[in-house]
Amino acid sequence: METLFGIAVDGVAYGMILFIISVGLSVTLGLMRVVNLAHGAFAMVGGYVASYAAQSFGLPYAGALVVAVLLTVLATLPLESLLYRRIYGHANELSQVLLTIGLTFVIVASVNYLFGPSLKRIPLPELLQGTVALGPKSIPTHRAFVIVAGAVTLLGLWWLLERTDFGIRLRAAVDDPAMAAALGIRTERLYMATFALGTGLAALGGVLGAELLPLEPYYAIRYIVLFLAVVAVGGAGSVFGSAAAALALGITDTAGKYLIPNFGEFFFYAALILILFRWPQGFFKGKTA
């Protein structure tokens, strides 16, 4: 019983972190259909900006977070018009893979050059240190904060994509860009805004997740499989799906480590196969939010 409770608490906490760092990919991959393997790189850039802002300029955590998101969006927007715009669309999936891997390499090498290969940290404020008790378990305060942030993000995205014309236009533009344009939808602007949303979320995840996925140059590549797993299980483009997937994977992974730690990795991927076997389209096929 206590084990179960432990698995649930730790699993949910881990799952929410997975969600917050993957949801940006769900936006670009699922909604824009761009296989953006540079997602990890953008998250990393966000993390580094926050780390730098906090350590060199002494910005408080919240300030560093905001600066990181804004700067990352600003820094990556030119990439949208210079690079990504040329490879939108289903026919270009393989080009997207190649281009974004190339971009990732460049970012990894630049970060390595500028900041060196050692680990970087974003100091936590007093408020987020320590632990909060949940019955017999306790979880780090920071994780509790991430869970709340994740829930807020989830609801915000749901509202944006489901309740606003923006969401409808975006999905139309992705479904059939030529027809959407013929209806007067300004697809280019829409894509740019969505791209910004995706990178902003990536940066947010990079900062909030840094306690678990520490910042170092190879961050950009190291965790991409994890992000992809969340999006695939959730069903590309589904924000609620991503959340459900992140929780499911978080709990699965935690259970594996609790119960059969020596085969943890094995357990995780076997579970992944089973889930995808049962839900080949992901949990929330065809639903946006």
């Binding site: 040329r86 490879i87 281009l99």
Partner: protein, 346 residues
């Protein structure tokens, strides 16, 4: 001699867009050309045989990916599962059983094909991102098994002690790598010929159909799944042979040969070269590995930035990969209007 389909001469509307006519289809020259260039390389770069051997084996591996991706539309990040299984099977056989290199290749091929058949039957109902994820998961599991089975595979320390006998009992594997290289080159050329044969067969045609629209193939009475699984297994054999070739020529097998990154590298090399033409796989492999080698040799610390720029440059300026760019160049030179579409005939 070409084995292009003899087309009945038909009155064609000159304004209709056309494929390059079969007479101009020079793709049959690819395999012999690779053989010749490879031999030339043997004389021109006698000090780089180690690298060139790796390129040849990798090219065969990337070729196997082209069979599934370029001709069946199966996007996979799990080709290393087949490669690594082939490599380990050959390596284990070499340590415990036999050491004839050709037999080892055969063992690698069978092992690669078998794992592809088993896993393909399990996962090929899915498409797109789901399939991509499933292939990744399979690879991770295979890697985990290899890691756990330390007694057989050496785990993370690698499986060493592979000491293959001379090829045909005549040519010893020397340190400079002459035998290794020529052996690998020969295997690659044979692999290209066989692969070309397969993609131009009725089976290959059916696979291209599945790539475009499985439902339509079913409406013609075919079973898309059966084609996919078969091609996956065939490609698995190619990858297995490539793995065995690497094991034989390097004498060691590591966990990297079943890694995600090796799978991803195959995809990068293939897309770089151009999918759906077989020789694109070879071009991509040579370009990537040579660029990697040269850049890493010039600047072992920051080469990643340059190779990244290289990849981005190819996407932006050579859409469809290097092979597509070459074809456009050729078409411009020969005045043909339309090059063959990617995913077209090999």
């Amino acid at each position: 001699m070409t084995d292009a389909p003899p087309t009945a001469p038909t009155a064609t509307d000159p304004s209709a867009p056309r494929l390059a006519s079969p007479r101009r289809d020079l793709s049959w020259t690819a395999a012999p050309l690779v053989g010749l260039l490879g031999l030339a390389g043997f004389w021109v770069f006698p000090d780089d045989l180690g690298l060139m051997t790796r390129i040849a084996a990798a090219a065969l591996y990337v070729l196997s990916l082209d069979l599934v991706l370029g001709y069946c539309g199966i996007a996979t990040l799990g080709q290393a599962a087949m490669f690594g299984t082939g490599a380990y099977a050959a390596g284990i056989a070499a340590v415990h059983l036999v050491n004839d290199p050709l037999i080892l290749l055969a063992i690698g091929g069978v092992a690669g094909g078998a794992i592809a058949l088993a896993t393909g039957a399990l996962i090929l109902h899915a498409r797109g991102l789901t399939l991509l994820m499933l292939t990744i998961a399979v690879t991770q599991i295979v890697q985990e098994v290899a890691n756990k089975a330390r007694d057989w595979t050496g785990g993370s320390d690698g499986l060493s002690g592979i000491d293959p006998a001379p090829v045909f009992g005549l040519f010893r594997f020397d340190m400079v790598g002459r035998t290794s290289y020529l052996f690998a080159l020969a295997v690659l050329v044979v692999g290209m010929l066989v692969a070309r044969r397969i993609v131009r067969s009725p089976f290959g045609l059916a696979c291209r159909g599945v790539k475009e629209d499985p439902v339509r193939v079913a409406a013609l009475g075919g079973s898309p799944r059966a084609y996919l699984v078969t091609m996956y297994a065939v490609a698995g054999m190619f990858a297995g042979v490539a793995g065995a070739l690497t094991a034989v020529s390097s004498g060691i097998v590591g966990l990297d040969s079943v890694s995600f990154s090796w799978s991803a590298e195959a995809l990068v090399m293939l897309v770089l070269g151009g999918t759906g033409r077989l020789y694109g796989a070879v071009i991509g492999t040579v370009a990537f590995m040579a660029a990697h080698h040269i850049l890493a040799a010039t600047d072992p610390f920051h080469w990643m930035a340059f190779i990244g720029l290289f990849l981005m440059g190819v996407v932006l300026f050579l859409p469809g990969g290097i092979a597509a760019g070459l074809e456009r160049l050729r078409d411009r030179l020969t005045g043909t209007r339309n090059g063959s579409a990617p995913g077209g005939r090999a």
